[in-house]
Symmetry: C2
Subunit: 211 residues, 2 copies
């Protein structure tokens, strides 16, 4: 169907394979997904898939990279809303994703993270370390911007708060896999998180009418 093809063709094919992989990973998680599953979902042969990716770890890494590109800009400075509004809207987004956990990559992500742990210095390992630190830094920057704008008055180091926020979200995720969003009371927990962040960041109250 395609010898001596353009870069563009290969790019599209690659994306199509990643799309198929995503489907499978969402359904089966990382550990139980096989190359065969992805071939079946994409409707291609063994040879075709292996022409694009060396092994499953590679597939997942590339998928993660691709997905991250979307996510990345959430904490970009934004002048139309306050720092606090921006933060809560990010948290709402996370909440939504956790509540629809079956239709997200969160399970696969966690499995992938754990599977990497034992490996020596490694492409995937490096990427994940980086990813974590990028995320943390984004939140730190964002807290500092908010502080500079006098919208926030942090009572703890921004970095600690950032890592804390990430930990909590990751943990809520992990627990929700096993038990479902009802048993873990996602909503109630998010309320607690917001309460604690308010205490830490002391956002200035937004009054409905600036009189």
């Amino acid at each position: 169907m395609a010898p001596r093809v353009s870069e563009d063709y290969k790019n599209r094919k690659r994306l199509e394979l990643l799309r198929a992989a995503k489907q499978v990973f969402m359904k089966k998680g990382y550990t139980r997904t096989t190359m065969q599953d992805i071939m079946d979902e994409a409707g291609v042969s063994r040879g075709a898939l292996y022409a694009y990716f060396d092994n499953i770890e590679h597939v997942y890494r590339e998928l993660l990279r691709h997905e991250d590109e979307q996510e990345l800009h959430f904490f970009d400075p934004d002048d139309t809303s306050t720092a606090w509004q921006q933060l809560t809207s990010w948290i709402q987004k996370q909440k939504k994703e956790i509540e629809a956990i079956e239709r997200s990559l969160l399970l696969a992500n966690s499995e992938f993270f754990l599977s990497i742990h034992s490996q020596p210095e490694n492409e995937s390992r490096r990427y994940l370390t980086d990813r974590y630190q990028r995320m943390a830094e984004a939140i730190v920057d964002f807290v500092q911007t908010g502080t500079a704008r006098m919208e926030l008055q942090p009572r703890l180091p921004a970095e600690s708060i950032a890592l804390y926020l990430i930990s909590f979200i990751d943990g809520l995720m992990l627990d929700t896999f096993q038990l479902g969003p009802e048993k873990t009371r996602v909503s109630a927990q998010i309320d607690v998180l917001l309460f604690s962040l308010k205490e830490m960041l002391c956002p200035v109250e937004e009054t409905a009418s600036p009189s």
Copy 2:
């Protein structure tokens, strides 16, 4: 070495197998551990191991049960220290365990939890659900006891706080696997947690000298 043996013998053997299993699980986590690994560590044959456990999932479930028996009594009422002291000492214990993550079962636990997710209604699944709820309940009871004793004045529902606490600890754990306790700044994050709990629970200050 032991036909027609006493219940006691079988019990000891079983414990010895679990001890060996624990060693392996600490080192390799859950997913990568095989029955073979456990046989080697315990120095027994395939047949012997399978006489006690049906499969790895079964081994791990029994190990977890056994380990839990120890842990369980941490939140029992205690008249020699205040509720807040008790809580912080539990958190310290968690912190220690996370910092020595390589010598604990935490990684294996997380992997096990995730591996269970996909399974249908299941012995392991039921046990984990139960375990989570037992833990939550223990913390709730404990907060309520503290409240009754006038040592705590919770500003949020005890159950929400309990689940929140569990989520955070689980998340910190998960992140620390990938990155090690330095990169996740375990200490700093625990500080944030304590800060937030103080705000939620409003423990009465302990004065050094009740004058």
